[in-house]
Amino acid sequence: MRIRKCSLVFASFVTLLLAPVLAFAQTPSGQKAPAASKAPPVEQMEAHVGNVTGESQAGAKLYYRYCWGCHGARGDGNGENAPYVTPLPRNFVTAVFKCRSTVTGFLPTDEDLADSIRRGFITSNMPSWISLTDQNRADLVAFIKTFSPRWKTEKPGTPITVPPEPAVTLASIQHGKELFTKLECWKCHGPEGRGDGPSASTLTDSNDQPIRPYNFYTGYRFKCGTTNHDLYKIFMTGVDGTPMPSFADVVKPEEAWDLVHYLRTLQIWHKSPELALWESTPEGAAMVKAEKVHQTYTGSGIHP
């Protein structure tokens, strides 16, 4: 009798000790990945970013580690974090993208998507993923393209032609200023580019969420880049999914550079050649001085 009781106690003790060990052996990483039977098969898709070829199978693993918390398991922007985030995470199923080098309404290039992942989006929850390798980003682009049927049914968008940037001259800046007025950019961006124009407060994006126009006063970076070339593409391709339209049909390419040069003079806290040239004139110097004194905190709060 005693021996059996002892064995029983001993056996249950051993079982209790072993149980957690056995349990841990099932999930070595400690993370709960989708069970093999539930995860949908990954569609075969490639991406070409520079010299690197990305592959969707590899991209899927990265996506479910880094991206799905915001962008969702189905890539529709309905991740766990989505309710707490403004603007909403990108919905890859509709394939409408802000930062492209292609005409409004058309799909971005693989490079556009890889650039967006690398840069992140200022004033949003999308961080800069420079911590990933070029191969990682190319793989992610390939996987992201599997969320929308558009990449199978539509031809990829053709990048717009960006002519070489002419020299920064006062004439160019002046002409850009005239365009800013004529094209009524100020209606949203405000006369000083502070995102406080008459239409600014009622703007909504294509998800019906309130959205603010870019505030040139606050910095030098944009949603879609930092350089003059990036700025050119922003208004010549439009920021799809937002109120910012494309001006490609109404601005000639050479005139577009004039507008770029003028817009840089609105970024009065950023030392650019355009601003330096503008401030060397009495009119420009007076305007910039007045703007530096005139503090407002409307529009998107970007830190330089």
């Binding site: 409408v96 409004t104 239409s199 799809d240 339209p245 494309s246 049909d249």
Partner: protein, 238 residues
Amino acid sequence: MRMKYVVLAGLAMLAASAMAIAGPNPTGGTVSGKVTYEGTPAKMKPIDMSKEPSCAKMYSTPPLAETVVTGSGNSLENVVVYVSAGAPDDTAPSTAAVFTQKGCRYIPHLLVFQVNQEIKIQNEDQTSHNIHPLPKLNREWNKSQPPGTPPISEKYDKAEIFPVKCNVHPWMHGTFAVLKNSHFAVTGDGGAFSLANLPPGKYTITAWHESYGDQSQEVTISGSETKTVNFVFKAKPY
């Protein structure tokens, strides 16, 4: 004798040409009816265009919002009635459907056209507008259109009904209805519609309104009769 043959031949030619002009099935059936509402619709508010003086000054009294437009006899306007099933797809007509921005409003408020038919969007105002249609199945694009610039030409390759807006002028709302066939009508004052030239068959007729949703009814055409199909929408007080 010869005169009789000449007259007969002339009559035959006349009949043949009449049939040729009318088409292979000149009569066909017709589905017609009225779209009305029951209940009390919300009162439309006047649009405040003070942020756009160049448009505001075009109106002696501010125009009303067009979300719900009612007409005589409890009729509901701006309802597109179309054949959603039972008819084959039609090739798009070569004439463009025209959408005009005037007085900071869209004319017509609801533009109906066919898949792959060209639409021409023109700006007759003194201010810039941006055209921002918001489809979910078709491509979403957004273009600026300053005054004095040529019309924007576009088309859509999927059937869909979706809103159009101008971001600069938030009160501007319109609808594009891209349909697969040519059997459609938009109701005006009185709510009447008529879909003609329907060959024999079983059809689903759908009526769509931007606030009150859509309804469908089935109808069978056997010859050249006119079938009456009426739609009654439930009005919302808000």
